[in-house]
Every structure is written in structure tokens, then in C-alpha cells.
Amino acid sequence: MITSRRAFLKTAALSGASLVIGFDGGRLLQAIDASVAGSFQPNGWVCINSDGTIILTIGKCEMGQGVRTSLAMILAEELEAEWTRIKLLQAKPSADSDLGTGGSDSMASSWKPLRQAGAAAREMLITAAATRWKVDRGSCKAVDGAIEHSASGRRLDYGSLVADAAKVQLPENPPLKNATDFKIIGHRTARIDGPDIVSGKARYGVDVKVPGMLYASLERPPFLGAKVKNLREDNARAVGGVKSVIKLPRGIVVVANSTWSAIKGRTALAVEWSEPPKDAFDSDAHWKKLQTASRETGFVTREEKPPSGTGAITKTIDATYYYPFYAHAPVETMNCVADVRGNRCTIWAPTQAPERLQKQVAQLLGIAPRRQSSDPTSLVAR
């Protein structure tokens, strides 16, 4: 299994000429530290290679919120990196990592660790350069992907320093930049994935192809608890390319050798569903229930006092907001690709919770979601 940790250690093992720094919420650690192998399983890591490329591996999912760009911005700022040299890799889940993306917390939870990782790398690179030049490290400065010694006009780019920097003690509390010195954070920065998107190169879950793969289309019931009254299973099977029809507790799947055959087979099922029961969930009834509940005595979940110096209240806004049950309805249809071979399964899925997916699929298939590191099998959600 390629877990975050394994990939991290693998990267670390190969990092003879790289500087690798792993981080999670509270800890920041250099990969080559011996203690890494025992306990540290970072959620993300930064790798600076000898060719000057900077790889940020992080588990936050891009779904249009621009997180790949904003996280790279934080790193680039503290690292004094050339913006264009930063590449992002999606971390793969492990049983112990926490790669979920949700609750609008990506920036809040990554802000400090990413700044610390960037700052630590910067300080180590400065030390490496100062040692090589035999000058006071205070006279060296990180500028645009290089360390400069202005007194002698010398300059070394990060790539040429990583081998030495990797041997420098990781600073526990590297100094962070003052916000007034920010050159990237707070400034308009183009989306890292913009060029790929406008040229059709960006790869989405639905674009994944595995040679010889089959395609499935799933007919879902129109409401919870709906039962199949009637379906034309034989008609579906008669569609060219359809391989099988599988009934699930909540839906019917048509499997075929092409997307179109699967869609046609599903249409041919012509499923008739049972009528909703009288006590089925009803949006209007639910709204009325909420309205009634809102008039009962409740409790305060959050109270904010105006900051001192705020003037007297001149206007009071009284409003009611109703958030109905909406279908999320993204244009990209729900999709997932699974490649199951023996006791190994690889999943490609546009998901905010890769670990949850990994665990559930592992349970379903009876495969351990995380095996011993010597056995690189099981699940990879991407």
C-alpha cells in the first residue's frame, strides 16, 4: 500500500539529494531523522530536489475552492521560493493519516504547519549556504529560490544546496515572516491548475481509464425505502455490450463494456418504483417542524460581543434563513473507478474523504486497508 507514510519514507529514502520535511497539525520533522520511521506519519510533506523543483504533497482535495493554489502560496511565501517551481502532488491515504477535506478548514489547519515547513527549509538552506561560504548565516538571505550573500555577490540556488541542507538540524521554531513582508500571500495569484483546465488536460475522476475496464450505470430509487415494483431485466441484458444486471439494497446496476451500453442498459430496465409511504420524508412537513421548533426555548450556540469602541446600535437586522434539502448536483456525475486484482484494490474517486472510502471498500472486499509496510497492497484512493 502506498500510504502517506510509506510514500513519505520512500521519498525520504531516495532523498540523498533532496531536502524533505514532513508536517502534520502539531509536529514538523525532517524525513531523514531516525525517529521518523517509528512514529511520524505526516499528512503532508515538502520535498526540494536537486534540480530546484519543489514538490508539496498534501491531502487536501481540490474541488474548485483553489486549495492547491492557496496552500502552495503559503509554502512559497515562507520558503522564498520561485512560484513556478512548486508542483503539487495529492497525498494518498493511510489508515492513520487524516486527509479529509471539509468544513472549510483547509486554510486554517494548513496555515501554521505549511508556514513552519517553508520557514524551516529556508533556514536550513541558509545554514547550508553560510557553511559552504564560511560566512555568518546572518549575512545570507533567501531570495527567489536561492540564497544570496550580498556582501560578496555570491548566490546559490536551492537545488545546489539541498544535499547539505538535509544534514542541518531541523529548527524547532523557525522564524516566520512578518505579514507586512508578504509578497505572495494577500496578492492576486493565478490558479496553479488554470492552464490545465482551459486546455482540457485536467484529469477528473470520470476521466480515469484502466485497460479492459467495464462501465457501470446505477439506477437509484427516487426516495428512501422505495421498492422495485417492476423492471425489464431481460431487456437490459439484451442490450449489446451489457454484461450483467446486479440488484443492490438501494438501486440496480447495469454493467457493460462501454459507457454507452451501460447507460442504454439502464434505460432499458424501465424500473417502476413503489409509491412513497404516507410517512415518507416530506420537505414541507420538515420545514414546518423546524419552524415550530424554532419558537421553542433553545440554547445559545455562539454569542459574539461587539469589539470595544463600537458605537451604539443604529440598525437591527432581523431575518430568517431557510436552507432546504438540495441535491448537490455537481455537473460531474458521481463516479468511481475500482481496479480489483486479487487482494489488491486501487480506487480512483473524486472524494473529500479518501480514508473513509478506503476503509469501507476494504471492509466490503475483505482486504486489510493497511498492511504491513513490506506488503505494498490494498487500497489507494486518489
Partner: protein, 157 residues
Amino acid sequence: MSKIDFTVNGTRHVVEADDDTPLLWLIRDNLGLTGTKFGCGVGVCGACTVLENGKAVRACQVPASEVSSRSFVTIEGLSSDGSHPCQRAWLQEEVVQCGYCQAGMIMTACGLLQQYPNPSDELIDNVMSDSVCRCGTYPRMRKAIRRAADEMRTKKQ
């Protein structure tokens, strides 16, 4: 199964497919060009829009039986390096969010500009709102289309 003989991005292809297979799946599954997206399959969302003689066409609505001898351009064929005025304007105006609908949107915009080199905001809104962007990038798309239109007209002069 029939032999379908058609051109995509200047390259001739011969593929075997059922007559009712939509062009969208010929492009995505047979040719492996995944820039053209599947959204609704019923011609409503616009994610699968491609160009034919400069005109926007919804690929999910063209059956294979009508595809032979026709020539289409997908997002991959719009330019070799992302330099089409619409692609560049899209980046300059920072249009994209999740990006899933954007190939279809860019192709739709190209179709619009081919027919109306100087479209009004109202026309842009009418045409673009016919395709679905769940991120709501419509105001930035309008700006990008105006920018691309200006550039394309300046070039022609």
C-alpha cells in the same frame, strides 16, 4: 455495430460503434479525449460542447449514425499550447473554479464569437446561461468573452 469514419482535431478516425452511440462517447471512450465532459447526457448542461465548422454542438446529442464524414474540434484541438484567445482570456480573468464545465463553456464561447464577433453582455448571458456552471463563474466568463472578442477583432483588423 457500424464503422464510423470522422475527423476530430484534424485527425481522421475510423471506429466501430452502435449507430445510436452519441458522439460524446466516441470522443471520450473510443478516442480517449477526456477534455470533453459528460454532465447530463440529454443536451441540457453543455459540458460536452464541441465545435463543428466553428459552431457549438452538444456532443451527447449527435448519434454515431450521423457522425461519418463530419469534422469536429474538441478542447484539446482548440490550440496546441492553450494560446487561443478564449483560453488566454479565461486565465487572465481567472474564470475557473472546479473547472468541470469549463471546456464546454470555452467551446460555447468560441461558437458565440464565431457568429457574433462583438456580442452584447445580454447576448453573452443568454448564450452562456444555457450551459450549467455550478460554481457560478458566469460574471467572470462574461468578462473573459469580452476580452477575447476584443482581442480577436483587433487581430483581424
